[in-house]
Symmetry: C2
Subunit: 208 residues, 2 copies
DNA sequence: TAGATTGTTAATCGATTAACAATC
DNA sequence: TAGATTGTTAATCGATTAACAATC
């Protein structure tokens, strides 16, 4: 059980802390402070301490945080001390790149199957994965332990594929298609649209 | 000039509104309301009206917003009624997929050059682009109109490439490398790390 | 011990929402 | 005109910051 309803904005910062801590650990550090971590991730020290205090007391006055311990606790809180099975739908360029990406496993996720609707692609192999028919999505996934999906299909079919994923019992969708999805309560969507990021930054660029 | 310092959180929602409006326009709609737009993007109608009111009055009582007009105004506000030149650094799998992606141009951006450090890649062609040597980055870009970059290099070299980009005059970086970057004031970074998105959602998954 | 840093409280700051007059 | 919807105000809600006692 989660400690009494932690605000989503706090939850959303935890993976950033975790990533920075793992980076420090990989560089041989064993201890850090809210001050130092804050400088790395661009968040105030007070906020980091406040965020962590939602979940317990993980530091020591005078010395700060033991990095391996804090990593452990954050992994538990985020439920990524285990590995979650994820399906990938949409095997275009981006789907291929994601399927070959090696960075998921040691952060709590692994792709277990990939889907497409193109008969020319179905059945072909992409780095040990056979591309499956998206029409079999619901029958294949329903009742299994697959609760997350990555969506790399064209925008025009993203909502209908989403509906199928929801029907299959998927509770979290990482959406690369450039549109807002509609999902029922209890299902979450995280959006990845590079252009949104670029446009946010363009606002601050000077004219000309 | 921007109207007196609009909060960043408001700016960050504008591209989402714009994307939804363009989607509606593509489907033949010419009019919408804050209510309808809000349902599409998952934001309250009141907030959408409040956000837009920061920049002017774009709607009509009783009828709502004329979609093409609002699209126009949002493009102007975000400064994407023009096309910004962007460089891409890091030509691995992901870099290749991004370079071939067709979705940037009609949303205000185009890739004008790509870079890598691997001698085996430098000079080779990827869909009409010759991969250039990252060592020439600063000399090539400094003084040009390139103010944005996409970063798809390994985490281990991301900070040093970032420093070069900043030196080149780049003011906005879309960072795909899974780490927090340090940049001077006046330079912005937008982060794209799929695992952060997955971990945020994992928190809300039930145990087992 | 002295210095450093936590966890927490209270104060401040900012963002969201509800409500409604204005008006198309 | 009647119904719909804006832009805006004031109230509410929530998040961030500053400060500090506790303590390693």
């Amino acid at each position: 059980m989660n400690s009494v309803n932690v605000p989503d904005i706090i939850v959303s910062r935890l993976p950033v802390y975790l990533r920075a801590l793992q980076y420090m650990a990989a560089n041989g550090s064993t201890t850090t402070s809210s001050q130092e971590l804050g400088e790395k991730v661009g968040i105030s020290a007070a906020q980091i301490r406040k965020d962590l205090s939602q979940f317990g007391e993980f530091g020591k006055q005078g010395t700060g945080y033991h990095i391996p311990f804090l990593i452990d606790r954050l992994c538990q809180i985020l439920k990524v001390e285990r590995v979650w099975d994820v399906v990938l739908v949409g095997m275009g360029e981006l789907g291929h790149a994601i399927l070959r990406y090696q960075g998921f496993l040691n952060r709590g996720f692994r792709i277990v199957a990939c889907y497409d609707s193109d008969p020319a692609k179905i059945g072909t192999l992409v780095s040990q994965f056979k591309i499956e028919d998206v029409n079999n999505l619901v029958t294949n996934i329903k009742g299994t332990n697959v609760k997350m999906a990555m969506l790399t299909v064209p925008a025009s079919v993203a909502q209908q594929v989403t509906d199928k994923l929801v029907e299959s019992g998927v509770r979290g969708i990482l959406n690369y298609a450039p549109l807002s999805l509609t999902v029922p309560p209890g299902v979450r969507v995280q959006y990845i649209d590079p252009v949104i990021g670029l446009q946010r930054m363009a606002y601050y660029l000077s004219e000309k």
